[in-house]
């Protein structure tokens, strides 16, 4: 036992001599995380990061067999599902993890919203986080089409059709997305390119910035701590306490992910056929459902404005306002509690939940 301990010490010394790990550890030990009733919400960013890592790893494994062409896409996913050793598991994990990642990002964003963690000096962390969420949507939208199945094909058709409604540049954007006037093999190659090259490149930049901001500024303390004395505040060291708890949650998430992937494997459906009639139940991924359902409720024409355009305009403005939150939330900025924001947040969450449920129930 003594020999083993001395071996461990010798290895640590050998590494430390070359890479100065002890400096990093002592830095992490100095870092602390506020310990209070809402500390749990601080773990959501880490969980989302874990799911992103799972996406990257499983995505790279899928890349080895996936073929992004109209004639081979569906067959290659079918091959991954049936012939590749553990292919079914990798694909199922990739799909489940993608959805959980978006869910994690949503929860993380709302926790930041309600804890007011976006306020000065963390505005850029909020902005980069919001952009990362949009990029996550982009990953989801582009990845949905890649298996080239019937449902994805028609959902992409509907989704890209909506883009066309944007005034002046809508048609141009639609053609840019589709690689032509229709959803074809060109759209598939384009989406494949976005999914595995363009979006990951942009995502990495914003993710690095987002993480760097957090490391640099530390974790946000609750708003009411400003009025508390030092003795009333409680902290836990980032290393090892917070990091180990983070790891514990990661293990639980991995377990959940594995159970979902095995017991609820992701279906492939029928191969897309442009000449076939649109199947019943065309729907986007669940995180677009609230917007999709809202568009259904807006009449074709509202006064002289096209209904769909109005819907896009509404979500565009709402999204922009959400993005610009640190800029216009003056009360929080000056340290005054902004109750109205809590109500807005609850309404937004209720809106998303109700519309999503309606989307599935009324299908």
């Amino acid at each position: 036992m003594i020999e083993l301990t001395s071996l461990k010490k010798r290895i640590s010394a050998w590494i430390d001599e070359r890479y100065e790990i002890s400096n990093l550890i002592s830095y992490m030990k100095k870092k602390s995380v506020p310990k209070f009733r809402a500390t749990f919400w601080y773990y959501l960013g880490g969980i989302t990061l874990l799911l992103f890592i799972v996406q990257v790893v499983s995505g790279i494994l899928l890349l080895m067999y996936y073929k992004g062409t109209e004639n081979l896409a569906f067959e290659s996913v079918q091959f991954i599902n049936t012939k590749v050793y553990f292919g079914w598991l990798i694909r199922s994990i990739h799909s489940w993890s993608a959805n959980l990642m978006i869910l994690g990002a949503f929860l993380h964003m709302f926790s930041v919203f309600f804890l007011r963690s976006y306020r000065k000096p963390r505005e850029l962390t909020w902005y980069t986080g919001f952009i990362l969420l949009l990029l996550g949507f982009g990953f989801g939208f582009s990845g949905y089409l890649l298996p080239w199945n019937e449902l994805a094909y028609f959902a992409t058709k509907v989704g890209t059709d909506i883009v066309k409604q944007v005034p002046f540049v809508g048609h141009y954007f639609m053609v840019l997305l589709r690689g032509g006037e229709e959803v074809t093999g060109a759209t598939l190659s384009r989406f494949y390119g976005f999914h595995v090259a363009v979006l990951p490149a942009i995502f990495t930049v914003f993710l690095t910035a987002h993480l760097m901001f957090i490391q640099r500024q530390g974790i946000h303390e609750p708003e009411d701590w400003k009025n508390k004395s030092e003795s009333e505040r409680s902290y836990m060291p980032f290393f090892p306490n917070f990091l180990l708890r983070d790891l514990l949650l990661w293990l639980i998430v991995i377990n959940i992910l594995a159970i979902l992937a095995v017991f609820f494997p992701w279906e492939l459906g029928q191969k897309a056929n442009a000449f076939a009639p649109a199947p019943k139940g065309i729907r986007p991924e669940w995180y677009f459902m609230f917007m999709f359902q809202t568009l259904k409720y807006i009449p074709g024409k509202v006064w002289f404005i096209d209904g769909e355009l109005l819907g896009i305009g509404f979500f565009g403005i709402a999204g922009f306002l959400w993005f610009m939150l640190p800029f216009w939330d003056k009360r929080t900025k000056i340290g005054i509690r902004n109750k109205l924001l809590n109500y807005i947040g609850i309404i937004v969450i209720m809106f998303i939940i109700v519309l999503t449920i309606l989307g599935y129930v009324l299908e």
């Binding site: 049936t82 090892p240 180990l244 708890r245 514990l248 293990l251 377990n255 594995a258 159970i259």
Partner: protein, 498 residues
């Protein structure tokens, strides 16, 4: 009473006045001055009057003027044939049928003339292929006189009639055997029907004066003849069995020829009859597909495999190469018919082969068979049953895997080939070659073997996934628990230190 007497008297008065002032006076037979005059003339002016002496219309008091118009009461030719007085002369081709339909489409007039003939001939003719405009557009392709003649028309039952049963083949042949004439209407239509008919049993009997046997009109109809492609035609492929059965199911008619009358009733329930009459599969055979039509004769004992082979060509070809061919010929056994029957052919089943009492093989290859026929028949049946049982078991296995959510689509797809293998094997039975039979069936066993492995692997994989998940979950849970304990331990130490 007085009133009634007045009314009757008035009625007689009106009829009397009408008779007195009527322009046309009734002509008594022998008083038809047209006929009298033409009988004194020569050649073409004489012939119609001569021929008319025996015409059925003359016996009904129908005069020349009834068709040709004019005044039959005067010998003055200028008056009698005055066009101003309604004389028509020789009617134009497009008008001549009007002369016939004037009476033959008028039910009352026909009754008055004492005729029970139907009055729908013209209507039928108009819808028939012959009722279409002729190539010179001056009439119909064929009208009344084309078949019934003119001036010497007799009842069809009268041997003097141009449409008497024994005269009909030649009558139809006048046009239908004339290549130049037929080219004007349907150049694809053969012109050898009459020649073929003469060689058929129907034709031979007809030439002997037998008017019971079928001639052209028996099958094609009379006035309402349509092309064989027309579903309303009596000789449209699906109508043929009924047309033939009109005579061949008539026991009275057939007793003369000593022929059975159950062919039609057998055919309608046969695999061919069901396909043709119930499933409306127009490629299914009708009577004429095997017996021929114009040259109808029953297929001979040695020609059956050729006849059946027209459609079942592979089976026919294989049978010809088989040892059964020589054996059947030697025993004078009808080829396909010995095993499958003729008019009442039922769908083939695997029960036909083997050595059971219901099999067809046992008819020749019973246990006393000195050759290997009995043994091979037994083996063939055993192997086919074995493949079918394997197919059933493997499909059940794949179904289980599918129900567990495993993807076995490839194996399912491969299993579809078993059907093909069985079809090929059943076909190659006609070769009566056990080695070829086994070779043909073997791929089926290979497919089931491979699919069974895939099915079993899929089910094993299903269990492996869950077992693997169980182990992984336990390991991760142990790790998580250890980590939790470690955190607690660290925090405890930290608390003690602080």
């Amino acid at each position: 009473m007085k009133k009634i007497i007045y009314i009757v008297a008035l009625l007689f008065l009106v009829i009397g006045i009408n008779q007195v002032f009527s322009k046309k006076k009734p002509i008594i037979v022998g008083d038809d001055l047209c006929e009298n005059c033409h009988l004194t003339l020569e050649d073409k002016n004489l012939l119609p009057a001569q021929a008319y002496a025996t015409d059925i219309h003359k016996s009904k008091n129908i005069t020349c003027a009834d068709c040709h118009g004019g005044d039959a009461t005067t010998y003055d030719m200028d008056v009698a044939m005055d066009r101003n007085r309604g004389f028509l002369g020789v009617p134009k081709p497009q008008d001549r049928m009007k002369m016939c339909i004037k009476c033959h489409s008028d039910e009352k007039r026909m009754k008055r003339l004492g005729s029970a003939l139907p009055t729908d001939q013209f209507k039928k003719l108009q819808n028939s292929v012959h009722g279409q405009p002729s190539s010179n557009n001056r009439g119909y392709i064929a009208d009344c006189i084309s078949c019934h003649g003119v001036h010497n028309i007799a009842s069809p039952g009268n041997p003097a009639s141009t449409v008497y049963a024994t005269k009909i083949p030649a009558l139809c042949g006048n046009c239908h055997s004339n290549a130049n004439y037929m080219k004007m209407y349907n150049h694809k239509l053969p012109i050898d029907q009459v020649e073929k008919y003469k060689t058929s049993l129907h034709g031979i009997q007809n030439s002997k004066g037998d008017i019971t046997v079928a001639q052209c009109a028996s099958c094609h109809g009379h006035h309402d003849i349509r092309t064989a492609k027309d579903p309303k035609s009596s000789v449209y492929v699906s109508n043929i069995p009924e047309v033939c059965s009109k005579c061949h199911s008539d026991a009275k008619k057939m007793s003369k020829y000593n022929l059975p009358t159950d062919q039609y009733s057998k055919f309608v329930t046969s695999v061919h009859g069901v396909a043709l009459l119930k499933k409306h599969d127009m490629s299914a055979p009708s009577c004429n597909s095997c017996h021929g039509n114009h040259g109808a004769v029953p297929p001979g004992v040695e020609s059956i495999s050729n006849v059946c082979g027209t459609c079942h060509n592979l089976n026919g070809e294989m049978f010809s190469k088989s040892p059964h061919k020589a054996a059947f010929d030697k025993e004078h056994l009808p080829e396909c018919e010995t095993c499958h029957g003729n008019h009442g052919i039922m769908p083939t089943t695997d029960n036909m082969i083997g050595t059971g009492s219901e099999t067809t093989c046992i008819k020749c290859h019973d246990e006393s068979d000195k050759g290997k026929g009995n043994e091979y028949a037994y083996e063939m049946r055993r192997l086919i049953d074995s493949l079918k049982a394997d197919e059933k078991n493997v499909l059940s296995l794949l179904g289980q895997a599918n129900a567990l959510g495993m993807d076995v689509a490839d194996a399912m797809f491969a299993m579809k080939d078993i059907r093909q293998v069985l079809i090929q094997t059943r076909t190659c039975i006609h070769l009566a070659n056990f080695r070829v039979f086994k070779e043909t069936l073997q791929p089926g066993f290979e497919i089931t073997k491979k699919a069974a492995i895939e099915g079993k692997n899929a089910i094993d994989d299903y269990h492996f996934r869950r077992t693997g998940l169980g182990f992984a979950t336990i390991i991760v849970t142990i790790l998580a628990l250890s980590l939790y304990l470690k955190i607690k331990k660290i925090e405890k130490v930290q608390k003690e230190k602080s």
